[in-house]
């Protein structure tokens, strides 16, 4: 009863939140200067009134705003995200097309950063105050503080231009006709630089959090008690410190996981990675309302879904929550 009721109430709240997000986004986007017809007319290099009126009518922008709003919301309720006139495709197809590329990139970066972050964080904590600790934390701080696009460009200069080890951009070798194992290797080679770039930043975040959290937990009373009991130091580290120290890291990871679908605008742009983040950014500059709203909606839904899952997991682990 308890859990089922909790899930139901969370879902109901989620539905209301999503609806509010749709409404808010719709009006926010329409408040931005310019509309898709004006952008396309601008790109055409010539436009008369008739041309712009034709575009507006085609995009449905000649309708009053409340009619456009109603059309959109009643579509969304039936899981129809509308049509992108810019891209000449249904928005849902467009998003599903781009999703695999984004997930491949963000998931790789996510797991890589989580794993490396925890390992190096523990290593730094174990050497607290010594040069090993300083070295690890300094490097992490560097990655944390350096703008992502600059890291990306430098990675390209080093690994692609100078050393020639990895392709500079793209989702695969265009027109190479690879299949099977060759395709896999080719994809991985293209994945390396963007995943590294994106992963380094989050690795630094996890690393710093793991380190400080381990140091904090090490000072707690129950750890002292364990030591006083005469427990083996390795057992204390693994069972008492690590488990407790990782809770905040997992929380953070849960938060980040929700954003994976939103993609990584900068990384995807620099590496010409055909993902959702770029789609979102390009839709923004083109004022492609339906696509932009679609991307927002899907990302918001994912964030909410991950939050619910995280909450449920906590509930199972720790009945006090």
């Amino acid at each position: 009863m308890g859990i089922a009721w909790a899930i139901l109430s969370r879902l109901a709240k989620a539905a209301i939140t999503l609806l509010l997000i749709v409404i808010l986004n719709f009006f926010l986007i329409h408040a931005a200067p310019g509309d898709p017809a004006a952008v396309m007319a601008g790109e055409a290099g010539a436009a008369d009134e008739k041309f712009i009126a034709q575009l507006r009518a085609q995009f449905g922008l000649d309708q009053p705003l409340y009619v456009q709003f109603w059309t959109y919301v009643s579509g969304v309720v039936q899981l129809d995200l509308g049509y992108s006139y810019r891209q000449q495709m249904p928005v849902l197809d467009l998003i599903l097309d781009r999703l695999p590329a984004t997930l491949l990139l963000t998931l790789t970066a996510f797991f890589m950063s989580l794993l490396l972050g925890i390992v190096f964080g523990l290593a730094a904590a174990a050497r607290q105050g010594r040069w090993g600790d300083s070295a690890i934390t300094s490097v992490a701080l560097l990655f944390y503080a350096t703008p992502l696009f600059w890291v990306a460009l430098m990675a390209v200069v080093l690994f692609s231009v100078k050393l020639g080890w990895f392709p500079a951009f793209g989702y695969g070798s265009v027109g190479a006709g690879y299949t099977g194992f060759e395709l896999l290797i080719d994809r991985l080679r293209h994945l390396f630089l963007p995943a590294l770039t994106l992963g380094l930043f989050f690795m630094a975040v996890y690393l710093r959090m793991t380190r400080s959290s381990v140091l904090e937990v090490s000072q707690m009373d129950f750890v002292k008690t364990a030591r006083a009991k005469g427990l083996n130091e390795r057992v204390i580290r693994r069972r008492h410190i690590l488990r407790n120290a990782l809770l905040p890291v997992v929380t953070l990871a849960g938060l980040q996981a929700g954003q994976l679908v939103g993609g990584a605008v900068l990384t995807e742009t620099v590496f010409a990675w055909p993902g959702i983040g770029r789609l979102m950014f390009e839709s923004l500059t083109a004022r492609d309302y339906n696509t932009l709203l679609g991307v927002f909606l899907v990302s918001a839904a994912m964030v909410i879904a991950f939050n619910i899952i995280t909450d449920l997991v906590y509930r199972l682990i720790d009945p006090r929550i």
Binding site: P33, A41, E43, A46, D48, L153, G170, G175, P274, T285
Partner: protein, 514 residues
Amino acid sequence: MRNFLISTILATGLALPAAAQEAGGRLDIVVQPEPPSLMLGLVQNGPTQLVAGDIYESLLRYDTDLNPQPSLAESWEISDDALTYTFNLREGVKWHDGEDFNADDVVFSVDEFLRETHPRLRVSLEHVESVTALDDHTVEFKLKNPFGPFIGVFENGTMPMIPKHIYEGTDYANNPANNTPIGTGPFKFEEWNKGSYIHLVKNEDYYLEGKPYLDEVYYRVVPDAASRAVAFENGEVDVLPGGSVENWDVQRLTAMDGVCSTGQGWEYFAPHAMAWLNTREGPTANKDFRKALMYAMDREFVRDVIWNGFGKVATSPVSSKTNFYSDDTIMYDQDQDKAREHLEAAGYDGETVRILPLPYGETWQRWAEAMKQNLEEVGVNVELVATDVAGWNQKQSEWDFDIAFTYLYQYGDPALGVARSYLSSNIAKGSPWNNVAGYENPEVDAMFAEAAVAATPEERQEIYTKVQQTLVDDVPVAWLLEIEFPTIYRCEVKDLVTTAIGVNDGLRDAWVEK
């Protein structure tokens, strides 16, 4: 009887020794940004024309001196009274789906499809009385009045040929065929992997024997300017069309071994960078203030430093590459004393002037900053307004600016690409491509109207010289630079740019030396 038959030298253009060209190979070309559509009859922006120029063709092409050359029309005649244009179409041309191309397609394209969809051609078609298919391979255009620039509107981005059998009687904008474009051109549409590349393959049934030489072309979408430069450096792409990389990269890339570049292939467009000066209100409504602005600017510095030496200072509303340019006008070389005199005459009281930069990358941002500095040096208070492309369009369309950067194409003739920015009948909110500055001068209106329909080129030159003198004195617009966008490519790519629209005319003649 001035019945001049312009082209009987046959059309194939195969005067070149055929042995020189080698068939085969693939080209990778940057396209930036990703085009919204490849249907050239509906969308005419730069990236669309770059790719669709391989798929669609028009009746004529233009050499780099803007002389008409055969394309789908083998030859043409203009009657003595300049009212009848007769085109003889090439025989044996097929659409990519195997149907025959004939005169009915031409009539449909011009009179029905493009008249409905093409804002720029529509203006020229107002001079056209009728378009008639005399037989399967002859089309006759009858004009209401002589229209000097008419022979210049048969370019691919202005009048692409659209297949009648696919579009007749359909809702053009929503025809599913828009996603699989069918033309008569040297390359066929194969695949569009959105966000990554567009793949075109050789049209095996192309009507010119042996052409095209290339087997396939990939247009690669690379959204970041620095990454595009790296892509070329690494050899992943072979051609960077003009404007694909930032100016400082142009110098670096062209200095590499085996890399060639050309400034040709922009003569028809002649991109003219300028700044609208809002003549309705604010300090810019005052002619002396506008002259002060002209004298304050150091345009040579902009050309040499911001554009790395590419381009030419613009002295008139007409580009020196366009027909009927005149240098018999006031010249505004930088002169800060004169600028201050004019500011005083204008009674400038220190009101802040808003500059709207063109949000097309670093070069344009720096240019706006240079203008700001120049104006501040003579005592004008300036504010730069930050926007994205949509906002920039909107602010121009709603006249919400004092000074707004832009650049316009001239399309070879003042009547096509210049007059539109100064005619008072062309003042209307809602578009960034009309008389945005709000300039009204009945004398200029009359001269432009007269020059468009004047009978001989000499008469037209005389009137256009006068128009240019008047406009340069009135300064409704600050003319900045005749921009040059060099096309950068590997030297083994041959015959890449052969016409006045360069790579936009398709890769019919291009080949790769092995």
